[in-house]
């Protein structure tokens, strides 16, 4: 259920420019306003993700894992 909420958040971030701006300005507050039911680990992820990072930069940040 929680993962579904995450999916919806990312979908909204992708498709709603005003939400994207809100998230970039204050991720946790923006996500809380949506009422999404996230776990503590997912909320921590919301805080630690760099929402300003362009896709191209994300691509070069992939690593080869363990």
């Amino acid at each position: 259920m929680s993962r579904q909420a995450v999916e919806q958040l990312i979908d909204r971030w992708m498709n709603d420019p005003s939400f994207r701006n809100e998230v970039r300005s204050d991720p946790e507050a923006a996500v809380r306003r949506t009422g999404a039911d996230l776990t503590d680990d997912e909320l921590a992820a919301v805080r630690s993700v760099d929402w300003n990072l362009p896709d191209e930069e994300l691509r070069v940040r992939t690593n080869n894992g363990a």
């Binding site: 990312i10 992708m14 630690s48 070069v60 690593n63």
Partner: protein, 328 residues
């Protein structure tokens, strides 16, 4: 911008980490020399281990992130304050990993299956049996090893059954990453915690920590292979990794059929592979994956805080966990 690994390399790529890799492989090599029954067996077992060592030492990023070396040693050191007694266990987990790694060559017909089976099912067990620990502890670690192998085998089957499939859900892909790579790292961490005679509750936290970092690392590695590795083996093999499945889940009707056809073409055509990458990026799959990997990192960090390892192992464990992230 630096990769997450580069941001953490001070912790992971320093002389201590390199020395850890050297000591673990030296002990594994020595064990093979002493225990192989024939010279031919020594060659068949020793060569893939030597190849793994060469690959790892040639690639500082991979060397710093190899969970089979670092995780058991750091978990033990986090509990007991020293690394040395965990080196033989890390050698066992290294031989186990080498056996898993060798199965790819066996599938390609490049190496006898008996060598992979021996690496996986004889040498790690022998090494565990000879750990400097009380008999009941060795028996418990041996049981953990057997249960872990059972789970990993089931995860491997799940992974293979998803290849080329049209109907796979992202939750199933995550479950497979947990069942395969998550269980592998959980096994490494749990055996180390047992060797350190950690209380059951703390051992459970380390086991869960291992499961989270192993699954997150697998998902991150799948992204790297898909978006950055020129060989793109997963696309060639028709593997349904998380970025692909997240994209498929958002397509319906003709769009979905067309993308499945593109995936089929990508098995043989480089231009189709590039088109797949482009569509996944523009559709947001990479960003979704980056967030999902971040949740595994945050879960592992929380478990690490709860387990409260001793320094300096704690800093190294946090760096190892951080190295899977897109967001250092």
């Amino acid at each position: 911008m630096p990769s997450s690994w580069q941001r953490f390399s001070d912790f992971l790529e320093g002389p201590a980490a390199a020395d850890r890799v050297r000591r673990v492989f030296d002990a594994a090599d020595q064990f093979i020399v002493e225990r192989a029954v024939t010279l031919e067996q020594r060659r068949l077992i020793g060569a893939p281990v030597a190849r793994l060592r060469a690959e790892i030492t040639a690639d500082a990023e991979r060397a710093s992130m190899c969970l089979f070396v670092h995780l058991p040693v750091l978990v033990y050191a986090g509990l007991r304050g020293e690394e040395r007694p965990a080196i033989p266990l890390a050698s066992a987990t290294t031989l186990l990993f080498a056996g898993l790694d060798l199965f790819d060559d066996v599938a390609d017909g490049d190496w006898p299956g008996s060598a992979a089976a021996t690496l996986l099912c004889a040498f790690p067990q022998l090494m565990v049996g000879e750990l400097a620990a009380p008999p009941q502890l060795i028996a418990a670690i041996g049981s953990t090893l057997a249960r872990g192998l059972l789970r990993m085998s089931a995860g491997q089957q799940q992974d293979l059954s998803a290849q080329g499939a049209d109907e796979v859900r992202s939750c199933e892909i995550e479950a497979t990453a947990i069942a395969k790579s998550g269980e592998e790292a959980a096994l490494f961490a749990c055996m180390a915690a047992q060797l350190a005679e950690a209380p059951e509750e703390i051992a459970g936290k380390y086991e869960e920590l291992g499961r989270s970092i192993g699954a997150g690392a697998q998902l991150a590695s799948d992204c790297h292979e898909l978006f950055e590795d020129p060989a793109a083996r997963d696309l060639v093999h028709g593997a349904r990794t998380l970025p692909i499945v997240l994209h498929l889940e958002r397509l319906l009707g003709a769009e979905r059929t067309a993308f499945l056809a593109l995936l089929d073409d990508a098995r043989t055509e480089a231009a189709a592979r590039e088109e797949v990458r482009l569509r996944l990026r523009s559709g947001g799959s990479l960003r979704r994956c980056a967030f999902i990997v971040e949740t595994y990192r945050q879960r592992a960090l929380r478990l690490c805080r709860e387990a409260a390892p001793l320094e300096p192992a704690r800093g190294c464990l946090e760096a190892l966990i951080g190295s899977i992230s897109f967001f250092p």
